[in-house]
Symmetry: C2
Subunit: 263 residues, 2 copies
């Protein structure tokens, strides 16, 4: 699989033309087909960073056999626990926030100083906490059970998420945006970082899942809405959205729209 | 608070002796008093790394006013979302895994090469996922509610945790230990890293919370038990455990022993 994908990319290089070409890293992203999920946080970074990448989920077989080779293969020296994971040359990197930590430098989506890098990663990990909580509103008991088999618990967990957790996380990120003294809509310093992309994606997901609760919360936090809009108006992000490659939010995904959970 | 704590440390320096002293970073750890919680992952790294640090939770007032200054103060430029957070000089670092990423270099608890650093961080984030799931067994509905008010849901979630999630995570980490071709009990390469400390602490916590289920699972995963024992036999970790500063596991904490959740 790996060599197939690599070969496909290499085929775009004209014979004999290699010597004049810049060496470009072609990343390979491994994630489930059919959903945005956590893979989407990586995709947005790859797209905004103008990276060359192969999205293995778009392979005819959904990329699942290729993915499973790394998850279950007996000789992978540093096996990931779960997708998404990224292949960069011989390096295999798992955990969404860790992939973004890795990509931040080469894709220019993170500050260059060490303290700035850590601050952006800290924000990313806080976004990740919010994402887990958003997911667990529809799966509070077990990921292996259907939603319909944990609906009563989901209703209670969603109520707490709407009443306490969305307000707490949104107020926090609004505060971070307020404290950033540089002009512009971003969380950290004057330039967009991967944490901005992830927060915008999370806001979009929560708006899909909880249209009523999120609308109420966003009215109180105008900077969050501004950040969301600024991300989705970026030329490269718009191009990605218009490409047809971005999947729509759906109810097999991380963020799910069950009206009964929106109060 | 900050200057008080710093002053206390400085008071240990003899007058006139400053010039001959090595400049040592004195870290300040901010976390809730009375529990190990997520602060303990940082404490174990600081202890094993031989760091000088002030544990603000040990202040007479539990350190809560000092902690709140950073969480709620109106002029903190990079406010943390929640404890634990670490102060290193003027730098404030939040999110447990991010703090360990920061400490890995200076405390020599991470590999020196970039790929190795990312691998250890990836493992740490996977440990963090397990910790969230262990916590949510007793709080599946809302952190703001008492256990007794979510007991039925807790019972169901704990059953899934025992039957599916403990086996999945333990099998994964056992696999990582098997794939590490260097001699020694550690996850990544030949030397102990912060991920080993965190995994050992998580195993200890799960043994406290689920003595029956974890005993069954650990019998199948001998390398995990060996790693756990090797960590808690380290001279500096033993000294910390014997110091009286390490709190006992308890039922206000992350890992809780409710026999009805152990099947």
């Amino acid at each position: 699989m790996m060599s197939l994908a690599a070969a496909r990319w290499n085929a775009a290089i004209e014979p004999g033309g290699e010597a004049s070409l810049e060496v470009v890293m072609v990343y390979e992203l491994y994630y489930w087909p059919g959903i945005q999920g956590r893979g989407e946080f990586v995709r947005l970074a790859l797209e905004e960073g103008g990276a060359k990448y192969i999205d293995i989920a778009l392979e005819p077989d959904g990329g699942i056999p290729a993915m499973n080779k790394f998850l279950e293969g007996p000789r992978v020296p540093r096996p990931p626990f779960a997708p998404p994971f990224l292949k960069a040359g011989k390096q295999l990197i798992g955990q969404t926030a860790n992939i973004l930590l890795f990509l931040g430098g080469p894709l220019k989506l993170a500050p260059r100083d060490e303290a700035g890098k850590l601050w952006v990663h800290q924000l990313q990990l806080t976004v990740a906490d919010l994402v887990v909580e958003a997911h667990d509103t529809h799966h509070p008991i077990a990921v292996g059970l259907y939603y319909k088999d944990q609906k009563a618990a989901a209703k209670r967990r969603a109520e707490d998420f709407r009443d306490n957790r969305i307000p707490k996380f949104f107020a926090y990120f609004e505060k971070v945006l307020t404290r950033n003294r540089t002009s512009g809509p971003w969380l950290a310093g004057p330039r967009l970082t991967y944490a901005d992309l992830s927060l915008a994606q999370t806001i979009a997901g929560i708006r899909y899942a909880f249209p009523k609760a999120s609308s109420k919360a966003l009215r109180k936090h105008p900077r969050l809405l501004k950040l969301h809009d600024a991300v989705f108006e970026r030329p490269r992000i718009r191009r990605y959205l218009e490409s047809g490659r971005r999947l729509a939010f759906n109810n097999d995904d991380l963020f799910r729209n069950y009206p009964e959970l929106d109060g």
